[in-house]
Amino acid sequence: MLEIKNLTASIEDKTILNGIDLVVPDGEIHAIMGPNGAGKSTLSYVLSGREGYEVTGGSVLFNGQDLLAMEPEARAAAGVFLAFQYPIELPGVGNANFIRTAVNAVRKARGEAEMDTVAFLKEARAAIKRLSMPEDMLKRNVNVGFSGGEKKRNEILQMALLQPSLALLDETDSGLDIDALRIVADGVNAARGPNFSALVITHYQRLLDHIVPDRVHVLAGGRIVRSGGPDLALELEAHGYAGLEAA
């Protein structure tokens, strides 16, 4: 369970998060929607531990642990996964090697046995098939020469293999055509279960047609200004974000 209490954060002395309160129980998928500049990406970066963001107040508990005190790799080992809005290219690093290293780093940190190459490739190929992705995705260098859609699908592949208990999807729908969107959504829906929760951060409602959230929160001006059921997303789609900042 993720519990965010009165979280405030700034970048270079500019306050971006202004007192966020949010609870995501195990097994639930929550959507965070909001206009540009509302702090959506900042929230995902603060939760995943990226440098450059200063937490100025509040707390984040993840399964009872103080998430903000942990290094990014420890958060990953604890089960947090960030699907990047702009996945990073790693020239010279093979995708299979990268994902296997990550899986083994996480397994090691959890006290589990590492996977050998054969076992890993078997699992990776099965995941690729399940997600209708091209098999050469494993052979290429990480995200190098990938289209926007391929990069996002590669994030979902990593998520499928790392098996996080909390996924943060940062505008994973941006730049995706409808087929890629469906593959990404299928990946998230396949992970659904009592031990998986997610924060789906999006500007538009269309991803939520495919990943139906348990709750929808509206982030504006660095705080949650409204929360509701899946219908809230439709309402926002119809009426826009105007006027919410004042709410």
């Binding site: 531990g49 790799e73 996945p87 990073i88 790693l90 010279g92 780093a105 996480v106």
Partner: protein
């Protein structure tokens, strides 16, 4: 101490017997080792390094292992042809140094001519297919410079892959000179591993003269020596010549590595491509100087030069000096440089996947090095080059 004091201990009797060697010795004495006052050596002060060089070899030196490759090979030990270890191809032989070879204006080439140790002669007839051969120069601590000479002549349409390995132990000065002549349409792949001992000084000079349609693909991986310089002079003298001159240098501790190239386009429609990658750690310093000269008649020249340096510590340094000298009006020449530390975005991406910072850094440096080996593809020599990278890696403790 004078940088030339070592000459007092060298037996110069044989030098004096040959007028051209005597002349070369005089030329070297006059010029001395190059220093910062020579423009071409502005970033590499060899004279200063030689002033305190330890010329005293220990009495008992361990034998060196040869790289295990089932290829025709010529082996030089301390600059002397080793008949027992060499398994030369029919077109390879010992180069006897009593003939006159050009000394030129370069004092290190003059030193090579003066002291004139053995060398290797490689001569392929027109259209001869030489396959892959190897030249190994091994050296141990030595009271005088090791000065082998290599002559490679490929006839029209001939082809060869030449793997050169320099390695050793203890303090010595390795001053090899290469004279490479490629006939019309000849193709030479020249993969060089400079893995001389970390106490040594390595100063190689490579001359390449290319006829019409010839192809030279030179790749140097430099991991060794306390001070190293690979200096190339490539002359494209016939149309449609094509030269690739790539290098990767890995430097740590107080190593100093220098790659200097001069590519002279003296005929039209030639292309030259250069990528030099440096990984610099500790207090090491890298240098890349690349000059492209384009003669008036060398229209349609296509020249490209790229310098990529990864600086892994705050004290690491790279000096980069591109020079384009263009006298033709219809040419395409470009150069670029990327110099920096590891990308924090890449590190964070890896950490967000559970890979800690140390392992993430190692992966990214490895990736840079793997890319650096691209010019040699899947050559049979690849394992030797990868082993040298591993060895450097252990030394740098990254």
């Amino acid at each position: 101490m004078s940088d030339l004091a070592f000459l007092d201990r060298v037996d110069l009797a044989s030098v004096m017997e040959h007028p051209h060697r005597r002349a070369a010795l005089d030329a070297f004495r006059t010029a001395g080792f190059p220093n910062r006052r020579d423009e071409a050596w502005h970033f590499t002060d060899l004279k200063a390094r030689m002033r305190d060089f330890d010329w005293t070899p220990p009495g008992d030196q361990a034998a060196l292992m040869l790289p295990d490759l089932s290829l025709p090979c010529a082996v030089l030990r301390d600059g002397v042809w080793d008949a027992a270890s060499s398994r030369p191809a029919p077109f390879m032989s010992r180069l006897v140094r009593n003939e006159v070879l050009p000394a030129g204006a370069n004092s290190l080439v003059a030193l090579n001519v003066a002291l004139g140790q053995d060398g290797v002669d490689i001569a392929l007839r027109d259209a001869e297919v030489g396959g892959t051969v190897m030249v190994v120069a091994q050296a141990r601590a030595n009271a005088q410079p090791i000065t082998p000479r290599y002559r490679v002549v490929l006839g029209a349409g001939a082809s060869l892959t030449l793997i050169e390995v320099a390695q050793g132990s203890g303090a010595y000065v390795h001053d090899p000179v290469w004279d490479i002549t490629l006939g019309t349409g000849a193709r030479l792949e020249h993969y060089r591993l400079q893995d001389d001992s970390v106490q040594s000084v390595h100063v190689a000079t490579v001359f390449v003269t290319m006829a019409e349609g010839a192809h030279y693909n030179g790749f140097t991986l430099a991991t060794g020596a306390s001070l190293a310089r690979s200096e190339f002079h490539v002359a494209l003298t016939g149309a449609h010549g094509d030269v690739q001159l790539n290098a990767a240098q890995l430097l740590t501790g107080r190593q100093h590595g220098d790659v200097t190239t001069v590519i002279a386009h003296r005929a039209p429609h030639c292309s030259s491509r250069q990528t030099v990658k440096s990984v610099i750690d500790g207090m090491a310093r890298g240098v890349f100087q690349g000059r492209i000269e384009v003669d008036r008649i060398a229209q349609k020249t296509d020249g490209y030069q790229m310098n990529q340096a990864l600086l892994l510590s705050p004290d690491a340094e790279i000096d980069s000096k591109p020079e384009l000298e263009i006298f033709a009006d219809d040419v395409k020449c470009s150069h670029g440089a990327t110099i920096g530390a590891l990308d924090p975005e890449q590190i964070f991406y890896l950490r967000s996947r559970g890979i800690d910072e140390a392992q993430g850094r190692a992966m990214l440096i490895r990736a840079f090095l793997t890319e650096a080996l691209e010019p040699i593809g899947e050559s049979v020599a690849r394992p030797i080059f990868e082993a040298a990278i591993d060895e450097w890696w252990r030394r740098a403790a990254l």
